[in-house]
Symmetry: C2
Subunit: 358 residues, 2 copies
Amino acid sequence: MSKPARHVLPQERTSKNMKKTSLNDIAERLGVSKTLVSLVLNGRGKEHRISEEVCRKVIELAKELNYQPNQIAKGLRTGKTNTIGLIIADIANPFFGKLGREIENEASKHGYRVMFCSSDEKAEKSKQQIGMLMQGQVDGFIISPPTGSEAQIQELQKRKIPYVLVDRYFPQIESSYIVVDNFQASYDATMHLAKQGYRRIACLSTQSNLINMNQRLEGYKSALADSGLEVLEERIKTVSFTHEKNDILLAIKQLLQEEKERADAILFTTSKIGIMGLECIHSLGVKIPDDVAVVSFDDPDAYRISNPTITAIAQPLTEIGSQSVKVLMELMSPSKEKSKPQKITLKTNFIVRRSSER
Amino acid sequence: MSKPARHVLPQERTSKNMKKTSLNDIAERLGVSKTLVSLVLNGRGKEHRISEEVCRKVIELAKELNYQPNQIAKGLRTGKTNTIGLIIADIANPFFGKLGREIENEASKHGYRVMFCSSDEKAEKSKQQIGMLMQGQVDGFIISPPTGSEAQIQELQKRKIPYVLVDRYFPQIESSYIVVDNFQASYDATMHLAKQGYRRIACLSTQSNLINMNQRLEGYKSALADSGLEVLEERIKTVSFTHEKNDILLAIKQLLQEEKERADAILFTTSKIGIMGLECIHSLGVKIPDDVAVVSFDDPDAYRISNPTITAIAQPLTEIGSQSVKVLMELMSPSKEKSKPQKITLKTNFIVRRSSER
DNA sequence: CTGAAAGCGCTTACAG
DNA sequence: CTGAAAGCGCTTACAG
């Protein structure tokens, strides 16, 4: 009885990893089948009425051999990876970093891990990243989709791959999403400035047609109108993602210096712009809030230790994170195949600090 | 000729995913073997002298069917996942967020993805996370090991699982690591304060015996000694990870108010402590640098927009990130099985700003 | 109560 | 130049 020739893997196992124990090892040592071991170790022993005696033995040996089920093999068999793909603009941006952390926490409660990709707000990048992760690596996605990524999202839709959008969405595509009420947040912030007596309120935003940014602009404009203030196009500046630093300096100079009617307040629509904007303001020697008041979306650490402290529109990151995971979990559960997309809009938290005092 | 009964997966495939195309689909449609298709699609057609005609056909059909190789299946077969496990304290902490981003960038150049876990500096957490990811999910680890995680690292060592440590390491364990010269950085920063004429220089650090923190303390003490200044234990305060906020406020009060000989400068050994510390200092109405000078490790955005701007010890995050991936890649390459651990110490960048001006 | 067998989608040593 | 077959480590429908 000659054994059939054993195939040898390219990376020889023996030197590496000291041969991890597999289901088979346990089965052989105990003289039972893999089936039984698998059942027992998955806690389905009782249900299959396997004797307590046998169960105990299996569990003991598994512990002794420090058995760790190979998730890859499990994944191949079951079609589940227990992994979420997270596509955001930049994990180094504290806004997304904090969001990522909240998603990690909630995912972990459901037994899920997360894989992240930074798209830098570039549609080509997110397309490549989604494509890569779609190759059987993740069970679903949480995505903050960049400008121009509609087709990718539609592709996910078409392929019935579970996903939820965060921070922004595409109105023409039926998706689940978790966002904040950007219009209201922006409206309230601008009203606050107007009530404090500021008359020449400017807005510095990003050059994108993403819905969240558009809504922030609209909220700003509406508040001006409702306060009897004029909406001047030259007080609305937008900056690109790529040359942000220069663009912002230029915009702020125009807002504060070159015009006759210089702005007496600025609304920043993201913390990234806000932080750079504040640097520019300081470098120009302009005083906050005496020369110009400042309000910004998001609430990074920097705004609390800034002097003066910066009035902020804080987003409920914990809730955005946990809700996005929860909704994704529902989409991924086999039972709820036909459930409607969930569209969740959360309130922001307006924190008045010294930068907008009169 | 009755077909053998086809097994049906629990999650019925037909409704989901519209049956992704597999190697087999292509092979069948073309009337060739899976082997051939696999070879061609992996660019090994020439090498195996498969006719150009056939190669072209395979590649064409693959494109047409939008074939995406199933990475899980590939992983099971080859034992490689092309994924790195990243264990850091907290992805929401901008220091680790930026590091994560750099690691992501470099990993992507090598065709790798990254999975992150936040350990909150808790050994139990990192143990659980490493254990989870070790179940065939990642090819190697980049870890910022918390206090008390020596055994976990030794376990990786024992199992010959590739890993590299960042930010800190355990001197008693032979590992590859990428760190900065913490002693020198701290020494230089303290000397800078001494040269500016500050005499009562305090240090606020974390309650941990991690080597990086110890070295920062040692650098501080050495510089005091070399400047002819006394090292007073009551000027060295440490705070726990859990109650940081309260601890810091208390420590700063003690440093600045309750003592007769109040501190005239403070060295913060992390940006997390630094940011909270600055908040406390502001809330106490103490002026920087007139009442107390400030220097901090790390260089978050906050330090540039703070008023005054904060003198910082910036770590070369790009290089730490890229080096850690490069070293890990070497460890994971089958050729270099026996190479010695790489121990890399990088220089920090001292940025003098207004918070330490005299 | 338990086991033999199929199969997830790949890669690769081997044979021709 | 090409294919049949084994096998990575699991899970599960089916048979007894």
